[in-house]
């Protein structure tokens, strides 16, 4: 049953990606600027401008450009897995995304993991005594944490832990500036330092990840706690949990049964938040100078770098669909009714 769900989702995902590829190609060309101008800033003679447009392929009819993008022209294209070259850097978009994506995935994964770790005990504590002190505190925290933009938390944490207390490293990227980075294997700094057996660099990488991940965790934990607390509250009042309690099971065992029921909607929320944060963590990436996918997306949009924008949109969509697929499959495992 789950296999069928996965296959169905993959088929739908492929169609979504194809539609998105066409949509993003045409929509970004509606933006109110011509990217060729940026190339010829110094020598903006009409000839140089025309040469730049030809270099970018902008002198061709729109449908011919679309055919080139898909890979039906002279060069390789999307159907060959080639996202083209960035107009800003001249580098392969796929290579640039391959460098930026692991940074964001590592950040978001750690942020979500911290948020979930914090959310479960807090939500449980809150749901067990609705209306109690803990419950009210959780409600206030959830509202407050979720209502502050992430860059406010990020700047605040930098100010307190770096500038005032001197406990955290400066917001200087994934490693200390003079540290030698490991040979990239996965692109995840923590994993690559471990694979290289460089424990000092691993410690450095974790230290540099701590504040950005904590920032995301603070922001994300609000909605996760709220969702989990509400689901748990409903589950604790459900018939099967009342039956479990009436059967004399321990409170921890009863909580575990309720938690299983409450998990499915929370998993869906976590999947949505994860997908959203792939592009939405840009401000955290910016404050901590991480150079992830969000920053790459913003740079590309501001520079009207069409190939890079297309690449980022398709990558975020693909990763988001993958995350949704995983969370749906996990939900189906917990609650088989989801797969039907």
């Amino acid at each position: 049953m789950i296999a069928r769900l996965v296959l169905r989702r993959i088929a739908i995902g492929a169609m979504q990606m194809a539609a998105l590829a066409a949509l993003v190609f045409f929509v970004i060309r509606l933006m109110p600027a011509d990217p060729a101008a940026r190339f010829v800033g110094l020598g903006a003679s009409p000839e140089a401008y025309a040469a730049a447009r030809a270099t970018l392929g902008l002198d061709k009819p729109l449908l011919a450009q679309f055919a080139d993008f898909l890979g039906f022209g002279a060069a390789r294209g999307l159907i060959d897995g080639d996202l083209g070259r960035s107009w800003v850097s001249g580098e392969s978009v796929a290579r640039e995304i391959a460098a930026a994506l692991p940074i964001t995935l590592e950040l978001v994964a750690c942020g979500v993991a911290l948020a979930v770790l914090a959310a479960f005990p807090i939500a449980l504590l809150s749901a067990r005594r609705p209306g109690g002190g803990a419950d009210r505190a959780v409600l206030i925290y959830g509202l407050f944490a979720g209502s502050q933009p992430e860059f406010v938390w990020a700047l605040g944490l930098v100010f307190v832990f770096f500038a005032q207390l001197g406990l955290a490293p400066g917001p200087l990227g994934r490693l200390s500036p003079f540290a030698e980075p490991p040979e990239p294997v996965t692109g995840f700094m923590t994993i690559d330092t471990l694979l290289a057996g460089r424990f000092e660099a691993f410690s450095d990488a974790v230290a540099h990840l701590a504040l950005p991940a904590a920032t995301l965790a603070i922001v994300l934990s609000g909605p996760i706690i709220k969702m989990l607390r509400d689901s748990l509250g409903r589950a604790l009042k459900s018939d099967h949990v009342l039956f479990a309690r009436a059967s004399g099971l321990s409170e921890n065992r009863v909580s575990a049964i309720a938690l299983k029921s409450a998990l499915a909607p929370t998993l869906a929320l976590i999947g949505i938040l994860f997908g959203f944060m792939l592009g939405g963590a840009v401000l955290v990436e910016s404050v901590f100078a991480l150079g992830g996918l969000g920053q790459y997306a913003v740079r590309s949009v501001l520079a009207f770098d069409y190939p890079a924008i297309q690449g980022v949109v398709l990558t975020i969509a693909a990763v988001s669909l993958l995350v949704y697929l995983i969370t749906d499959a996990a939900q189906a495992l917990i609650d088989p009714r989801v797969a039907t």
């Binding site: 600027a33 011509d34 990217p35 060729a36 101008a37 940026r38 010829v40 800033g41 110094l42 020598g43 903006a44 003679s45 000839e47 140089a48 025309a50 040469a51 107009w87 800003v88 850097s89 001249g90 580098e91 640039e96 460098a99 930026a100 930098v158 100010f159 770096f162 500038a163 207390l165 001197g166 406990l167 955290a168 490293p169 400066g170 917001p171 200087l172 990227g173 994934r174 200390s176 500036p177 003079f178 980075p181 424990f199 000092e200 691993f202 410690s203 974790v206 230290a207 990840l209 504040l211 910016s286 404050v287 100078a289 150079g291 920053q295 790459y296 740079r299 501001l302 520079a303 009207f304």
Partner: protein, 573 residues
């Protein structure tokens, strides 16, 4: 037994490692690690808002200032300006009246033939270990003329310097893209460059980042069938050259690490390693400097620079170089076609307030149309800070109290580069307030820099804008005039306000070929006075270029591209 012992030893080792890792993670998670103190032994740490996006000066990102920082520290010019005096901020300024040899140790100019003969050094060696020869210079010009890169910067500068046959034909006739004998090797260490017509800009353009010399041996080794001029390698790996530094590591949008070229002909750089680190938020660059965790920070906001002036151990280095702010009013957009309206708007500009609140005193009023530090620059006669005169001029133009200007709401959308909001936002707001007091319906329109560039340089339809980005890279007021005020039909380049004055064009026609320095300067100054009288631009201020540095860092120097030369820097003993 032995296996068991080995196993136990392995287990102990594993546990020790595991304990170390757990300790490391715990330490990090508890934020107990902090930052180790910065030492000079590791090298120089420079914080900037963006690392180079590409390193080929004919590549797609050569117009980005941070890319130029990478290029000028990796590559070497044929000649450069001689060092001049040190200013009151401890920054050495070039002497724009004297040139000195770099890769060319001497040169002579045959005025009758229009030929510059360059005698190259014999001791210059590239990062790849290849000695400099005349073939490298010929290759560099041949590559520029091929216009095979994304942006033809090399061609443009050679054209501006009057090199023969570097004309617009290259864009329409593929045969014109092949280098002839206009640049030729005489022997292994002598090159001749021939001009098509007399042009005094040949030496100045050779100092700029767009005609730095490639190591042709390495470039040819990196060429492919699809990319015979090695743009991909030069842009995405490193431009092979004879400069003071070589690329050690480069991660776009993160860092560029430079290592001193051990073969550099002026001696290896005093600071062997430079780490240029991207920290996008200026507030964080400021905070890291205050915590003494970096040696140099670039592009702080004026407010941050002012706040750091009194911090012990840090020094603000600045220069009144070539950065300026002016108001752009498009002649093609009514009512800016009316000279009275132009003068009225200029008179309303609150220059003193902008200097005080926008630049925190680190700027001076500007009345000219070319950087006042450039040879041949003339002061102009544009009046600002005079609201009474502005009101009178508006009334004279038929708009008393601004009445009637509501017919042009789109014309008064004051555009500026959104990415410069921290600096330009408060200035735009001051200007808007001053204009509204006169009844001018000004609104603010921050737009992305790419859109700003497109509308300003290509479409030329930006009606009203604040611009602080125009820095003529060739140090010459005539070049600035050609760039901004000469009509396209008369050889102008990016006259973005659609200004046209036949008298000015006629003066330029005389000045461009004038080889007598005194007569040429007089003509160029007349051009500037004409542009100023017509309020072609409404100049506002010339602001200081700043760096914040650790007080131990010495040897600061400025160049017209505003890129630091790391070779000049050293740590105080």
């Amino acid at each position: 037994m032995r296996i068991a012992r080995l196993g136990a030893a392995g287990l102990r080792f594993g546990l020790r490692r595991a304990r170390l890792s757990v300790a490391a993670v715990s330490c990090a998670l508890l934020l107990g690690c902090g930052s180790p103190p910065l030492t000079n032994a590791d090298g120089l740490l420079v914080l900037t808002d963006e690392t180079p996006t590409g390193l080929d000066y004919d590549g797609p990102s050569a117009a980005i200032p941070q890319s130029q920082t990478g290029i000028v520290n990796l590559m070497e010019p044929l000649i450069d300006y001689a060092p001049g005096a040190v200013n009151d901020s401890g920054v050495r300024i070039p002497d724009f009246t004297r040139f000195e040899g770099r890769l060319a140790e001497r040169w002579d100019f045959d005025a009758a033939r229009g030929v510059l003969r360059l005698h190259l050094r014999r001791d210059a060696v590239s990062c790849a270990g290849n000695p400099l020869t005349a073939a490298d210079v010929v290759y560099t010009f041949a590559r520029a003329k091929s216009v095979s890169g994304a942006a033809p910067i090399g061609w443009f500068l050679a054209n501006a310097g009057g090199v023969a046959d570097f004309d617009g034909d290259v864009f329409t006739d593929p045969a014109a893209r092949t280098l002839g004998d206009e640049v030729r090797a005489i022997d292994r260490h002598t090159v001749e460059i021939r001009q098509g017509q007399p042009n005094p800009l040949l030496l100045p353009v050779l100092t700029t980042f767009g005609l730095l010399i490639f190591d042709s041996v390495e470039m040819r080794a990196r060429a492919t069938e699809d990319d015979p001029w090695s743009h991909d390698y030069a842009n995405n790996a490193a431009p092979p050259s004879f400069g003071p530094y070589c690329v050690e590591r480069w991660v776009r949008s993160s860092e560029l690490v430079l290592r001193a070229n051990p073969h550099y002909y002026r001696g290896a750089a005093p600071i062997a390693r430079i780490v240029i680190k991207r920290v996008p938020q200026s507030a964080n660059r400021y905070m890291i400097m205050r915590m003494r965790q970096a040696h140099v920070a670039e592009r702080l906001t004026p407010r941050e620079v002012a706040a750091i002036e009194d911090v012990d151990g840090l020094a603000v280095r600045s220069v009144q170089g070539n950065e300026s702010l002016f108001l752009h009013m498009n002649f093609a957009t009514p009512p800016f076609d009316d000279p009275l309206v132009r003068r009225a708007i200029a008179a309303a500009i609150p220059t003193r307030q902008i200097i005080r609140n926008g630049y925190f005193g680190a700027a001076v009023p500007w009345t000219g149309v070319a950087p006042s530090s450039y040879p041949g620059a003339a002061s102009g006669a544009v009046t600002t800070d005079d609201p009474a005169r502005a009101a009178a001029l508006l009334a004279q133009a038929g708009y008393p109290g601004g009445r009637g200007l509501e017919r042009y709401p789109d014309a008064f959308r004051l555009a500026y580069v959104a990415e410069r909001e921290a600096v330009l936002g408060p200035i735009a707001a001051s200007l808007q307030t001053a204009l509204r007091r006169l009844g001018v319906p000004a609104t603010l329109d921050p737009i992305p820099s790419a859109q700003f560039g497109d509308r300003q340089l290509v479409k030329k339809d930006l009606p009203f804008a604040l611009n602080d980005q125009e820095k003529p890279v060739v140090v010459d007021a005539g070049y600035a005039a050609q760039l901004f005020f000469v009509s396209a039909s008369a050889g102008g380049v990016n006259n973005m306000v659609n200004y046209a004055n036949p008298a000015l064009d006629a003066l330029w026609a005389r000045a461009r070929g004038e080889t007598d320095r005194v007569r040429r300067t007089a003509l160029i100054q007349d051009i500037q006075r004409l542009a100023s009288a017509d309020v072609a631009w409404a100049p506002i201020v010339e602001y200081r270029t700043h760096w914040v540095g650790d007080a131990q860092v010495q040897g600061w120097s400025w160049r017209p591209d505003n890129a630091l030369r790391f070779y000049d820097l050293r740590f105080a003993p």
